[in-house]
Every structure is written in structure tokens, then in C-alpha cells.
């Protein structure tokens, strides 16, 4: 796995952040101030989301035709993802070069170009400034100075990668290529979900969780909780400690791969530790927990692709969980559910049904949203305290089971260094 340096992109650092000291135990501890301090949040936005990272922004099936656009977020910066006339995809920051108004006011649509409403500066689909009304004045008076160089005042253009229909962008022109950024193992899992066949958009679910964005990210690096908290998972065997699993940190720990297998409703040795297992509980409509075996490897997968997204494949529901940090104590999670163009009607139907497991009303995701809220309550005002993450040991090597917090440890080893703590 390549070691990609995460450069310091901002020169001045907020005072408070600079003074924090990490607990001496290192990556087996998480001081709660990483979840509460707004100056740290600011630094994360700059260093991670504006830094040399690839950020998920859209699926290309959301903007199928030339001129189709969609607004998206990278950290707390809004961008516009737009399909150009030649079919390629551009990502530009949604801020007029003149006086900063958002240029695009709709979440989705089709446009030949973008005109800022304020003074009608006009940009082409690449973000180039192509028109400044009254540039030469009116009735011979006013207008822009002769040395005004229109070419310098376009929208900020981002680096863009389209990987099998998933669109990624970066503010940093020096960002390594997407393949290097992911590393081979993560890349193979991305490709597994985006093998190049046409995608079909099923819809969105958006939610706000009053917790730090990293708590959400950690939650998907934590197979240990899933086998204990989620009664629905455990009972119907969708995710259980006694299934063949893997926990693989990637790229110095920033990314993580969580793999398991759906082994159906069962009772084993390990069930006794899963007190929330409900053997007596059964469903009227079994389809909800009966996946069609679409992937030959029969795996169930959760990928945390730093810093902006979780890629989820559970039963037949496929989802991109876009992480949009709002403040140190609030994160928006924006779910895009999708399938493939070649889905059979029956599989299409199952995708919709299985999406009931996930999202703001998901049979299992409700538990997560609720518990993360309670974690933030616990972190608030507890700056002298810290979490302990020693399940599965203290190191950061890949493990071939799920009774471990190795993905979280790896992440904080990376985080600590990247943030300079």
C-alpha cells in the first residue's frame, strides 16, 4: 500500500487546535476533543477535504445528458458536477468569481451555461468566464478596465475522476491519481461495485446526525458494534461475528474495508454473546432479508473511502453514503441508492425493499444514527476524557474477522499524524 503524504495546505492554524496533545497511549485512544473543537474542524476541512484527497461527488447516471448538472459538496464547499458537451464531466466550485454569489441555485437541472444572477457574469460548462455584461460600458461610459483578463476569473475548477460511473473530485491539482490514492485493494472493491456497466439511480435519502463526521466514519470501520447493536442484523444473519469476515485497513489507515457474508438466521456458540439476538422473531415478508446472490463472492461489504464516503453493499442494496460535515458536532449523511441498468425487475424490486435496512429509517441504520447522537452527547464537555479502542488488539494490521477495532485504530494512527497531533 503506497504511503501518500497529506501535505499541510493551510499556512495559519487555529490557535486552540495547535495546543492539543494526543494521549500518550497513541492510536488506541481517542481524546474526545477531536469531536468537539471547531478549530480542529476548520483544520480538517482545509487539510482533508481541500487537500490532496479524492472526494465522492456524484454518480454519472445522475447527469446522463450534456448540460445535466447536480450540486454536491466537498466538506463544507459546494460544487457543481456537470456533464460537458463532449460527454465528459466537470466539477467546479459554486461561487461566482466576481463577488462570490452561488452561481447555480438548483440541486439538479440542465443548463447550456451558468449565469450568476447578481451581475450576470456567464460561465461555460467548464467554468470559464465567457461573458461580462456591460463589460464595455453603456453609452460609452464605464465598463471593465482594459487589463481585466477574463481568462483569470473563471469558477474554481477541480480535478475529476470517473471510475466506472462513480465521480470523484479534488481541489488539489497535486493530488495523486485515483488508483494510487485508493491503493490496489480498495480499488478492487470500488471496481467490484462499479464494474463499468450502466448505473441506475434509485433515489436519495438525506439525514442530519448531531455528531462529528468522524464518528460516522468510525461507525463504518466498526464491525464489532454491528454484531451486537443491530438486533435485526443478528437475528436474520445479515451481519454476525460468527460469519467469515475481514477487516482491512488501507492507505495508512485512512481507508477501510469491512467484509462479511450473509449466512442467514442461525444459532451458534457465539450467539450467547449477542444478547440482542431474537430467535423468536420472524418476518411476514421474508424478501426483506433474502438477498438475491448477485455477487459471485457472496460478500457483504462496507468501504470507508477517506474522507467523504462510505460505499455500502448489504443484501441487494447498494448505496453511496456521502459524508458532508456541517460543523464539529453535526454531519449530513446523503445516501444515494443505485442499481445497474441490467437489473432484472425482480432484482430492482429487491433493491428497493432492501434499502429499508439502510438510511434514516433503516432497520439497522436507525440504531446507528441514534447511538451516534448519544456518543456526541457523551463527548460534549468531556475534553479531559477519551475513548479506548483495543478490541482485536492494539496494532493496525489487517484481520480476518470482525471482532476488532483495527480499522478505527488505523484511522486514528493516520489522523494523528496527518493533523500534526
Amino acid at each position: 500500500m503506497a504511503s501518500i503524504p497529506l501535505q499541510q495546505t493551510e499556512s495559519r492554524e487555529a490557535g486552540e487546535a495547535a495546543e492539543r496533545r494526543w494521549p500518550e497511549e497513541g492510536h488506541t485512544r481517542i481524546p474526545y476533543w477531536v469531536y468537539t473543537d471547531e478549530s480542529i474542524f476548520k483544520k480538517e476541512m482545509q487539510r482533508f477535504f481541500h487537500g490532496p484527497t479524492w472526494n465522492y461527488v456524484a454518480l454519472d447516471c445522475e447527469v446522463p445528458n450534456p448540460g445535466d448538472f447536480k450540486r454536491s459538496w466537498i466538506g463544507n464547499s459546494q460544487v457543481v458536477v456537470v456533464r460537458d458537451k463532449d460527454g465528459s464531466i466537470n466539477v467546479v466550485e459554486n461561487r461566482c468569481a466576481h463577488k462570490g454569489a452561488l452561481v447555480c441555485w438548483k440541486n439538479k437541472g440542465n443548463a447550456k451555461d451558468f449565469t450568476c444572477p447578481y451581475h450576470q457574469w456567464n460561465y461555460d460548462l467548464k467554468g470559464n468566464l465567457q461573458g461580462v455584461p456591460l463589460k464595455r460600458g453603456a453609452l460609452g461610459q464605464g465598463g471593465m478596465p482594459k487589463d481585466f483578463d477574463q481568462k483569470k476569473w473563471g469558477l474554481r475548477k477541480l480535478q475529476v475522476t470517473n471510475r466506472g460511473g462513480s465521480i470523484w473530485a479534488s481541489f488539489d491539482p497535486e493530488v495523486p491519481d485515483f488508483e494510487t490514492y485508493c491503493g490496489p485493494e480498495m480499488l478492487s472493491y470500488v471496481d467490484r461495485l462499479f464494474p463499468g456497466k450502466g448505473l441506475r439511480l434509485l433515489g436519495y435519502s438525506r439525514q442530519i446526525i448531531p455528531c462529528n463526521w468522524k464518528m460516522y466514519f468510525e461507525n463504518l470501520k466498526d464491525p464489532y458494534h454491528a454484531t451486537l447493536l443491530h438486533a435485526f442484523f443478528i437475528t436474520f444473519g445479515l451481519w454476525r461475528a460468527d460469519s467469515k469476515s475481514e477487516s482491512i485497513p488501507c492507505s495508512d489507515g485512512r481507508h477501510g474495508i469491512m467484509v462479511s457474508r450473509n449466512e442467514g438466521k442461525k444459532t451458534t456458540e457465539a450467539t450467547k454473546d449477542m444478547s440482542r439476538f431474537k430467535g423468536e422473531f420472524d418476518l411476514e415478508d421474508k424478501d426483506t432479508v433474502t438477498p438475491f446472490p448477485e455477487f459471485p463472492d457472496r460478500k457483504v461489504v462496507g468501504l470507508t473511502l477517506f474522507p467523504s464516503v462510505v460505499l455500502q453493499q448489504q443484501a441487494n442494496t447498494l448505496g453511496m453514503r456521502h459524508i458532508i460535515p456541517l460543523s464539529a458536532k453535526e454531519v449530513e449523511v446523503s445516501w444515494t441508492f443505485f442499481g445497474y441498468e441490467d437489473d432484472t425487475p425482480e432484482l430492482a424490486r429487491l433493491r428497493l425493499r432492501h434499502s429499508n435496512l439502510m438510511g434514516p429509517a433503516g432497520f439497522v441504520s436507525i440504531d446507528d444514527s441514534e447511538v451516534l447522537t448519544q456518543c456526541q452527547f457523551g463527548a460534549n464537555g468531556a475534553e479531559d476524557s477519551m475513548a479506548v479502542i483495543e478490541m482485536g488488539g492494539k496494532d493496525t494490521e489487517p484481520q480476518d474477522h470482525m471482532v476488532t477495532e483495527v480499522l478505527i485504530r488505523s484511522f486514528y494512527r493516520f489522523y494523528k499524524e496527518a493533523m500534526g497531533f
Binding site: I208, A231, P360, F363, I366, S369
Partner: protein
């Protein structure tokens, strides 16, 4: 009957004003009883408002307007409705909360035999320990109601919420 509403009525056998008002009164009771079951968090009672072949969706206006099939909460058939009720009682983990529905603006958009299409605005206010009460959902029901021997039931109920995003989680059906 207001011209507006009449224009949208696609019924073959148009109702006269009195019949329409009587229908609206029946529907209003159905809507209020449903809201009341949700407010009481009586999930079992909630299942009784649906037909066997029902569809229930709590869906964002964004998805609804774009005709995207995904709904934040989606039940396709009474079995799924009952499974949702049971999961809420038996498996879901969530902080206690109180919810209150407020309804306004019931309108009948179509009548065809025993099948009625109707809509109304909803507002749901949530109260939780240690926090101020707040609006969690606002939007419009888009429904198909049928007459059954057991009274009016929802064959299709879509709670189309305008909210850009769900506040934490959607536990209690809207």
C-alpha cells in the same frame, strides 16, 4: 365544490357537493385516526389502516418529484407494514420521543367507484428530553383510499415530506 377541485376530479360518476362533503368527512376521520395511531406510537394499530395489497412510503419530495422509486421508508404489501411494526417494537434502538401530527387542507382529487384519491398537509412536531420541541416533518400525503367492508383503508399512502433531510432518524411512521 370549488371550481379548482372540481377541475381535478377525474371521476366518471361525479359526486355532488353533499356527497363530496360526506366523503371528506369520512376521509378526515380516517386521516385523524391514522395520525392518532402514529402519535400514540401504537404500531400495531398503525398496520390496521392498510389493505393487504397496500403500499406505504415516507418519501422525500426530491425523490417524488423526480419520480425516483426509492423511499426513505418503503413498504410493499401488508406483510412489510407488519414487519416494520414488529421491528420497531422488537429490534430498533432509539431514544424515547413524543410526536404530534397536525393536519390541514384535506382535498379529494379523484373518485372512481370505491377508489378515492386524496391529499392533505401534515406537520409533525417532535419533543425529546433535554431539547426544544421542533418540526421534524412537513409535507403532503398523496393517497389512494378504498372502501372495504372494514371501512376506509389506505391502498396507497405516500407521505411526501418537503424536508431537505431527516433530523437524525425516521422511527415512527409519518
Amino acid at each position: 365544490m370549488p371550481a379548482e377541485t372540481a377541475a381535478k376530479m377525474e371521476s366518471g360518476e361525479a359526486l355532488d357537493r353533499t356527497e363530496l362533503r360526506a366523503l371528506k368527512q369520512d376521509l378526515w376521520e380516517l386521516y385523524e385516526d391514522y395520525a392518532q395511531a402514529c402519535d400514540r406510537q401504537d404500531f400495531q394499530a398503525w398496520t390496521t389502516f392498510f389493505t393487504q395489497d397496500c403500499e406505504y412510503k415516507a418519501i422525500s419530495r426530491e425523490n417524488f418529484d423526480e419520480a425516483l422509486p426509492h423511499a426513505t421508508l418503503y413498504c410493499d404489501g401488508l406483510g412489510m407494514v407488519k414487519d416494520r411494526a414488529m421491528a420497531l417494537r422488537e429490534t430498533a434502538v432509539y431514544e424515547p420521543r413524543h410526536l404530534r401530527h397536525f393536519l390541514s387542507g384535506l382535498r379529494v382529487t379523484s373518485v372512481a367507484g370505491d377508489s378515492i384519491e386524496s391529499e392533505a398537509n401534515f406537520l409533525v412536531v417532535e419533543s425529546m428530553s433535554g431539547r426544544e420541541s421542533r418540526i421534524v416533518f412537513v409535507g403532503t400525503y398523496v393517497d389512494r383510499v378504498v372502501r372495504t367492508p372494514q371501512g376506509l383503508k389506505f391502498q396507497s399512502r405516500q407521505a411526501v415530506f418537503d424536508n431537505y433531510r431527516v433530523l437524525v432518524s425516521l422511527v415512527v411512521p409519518i
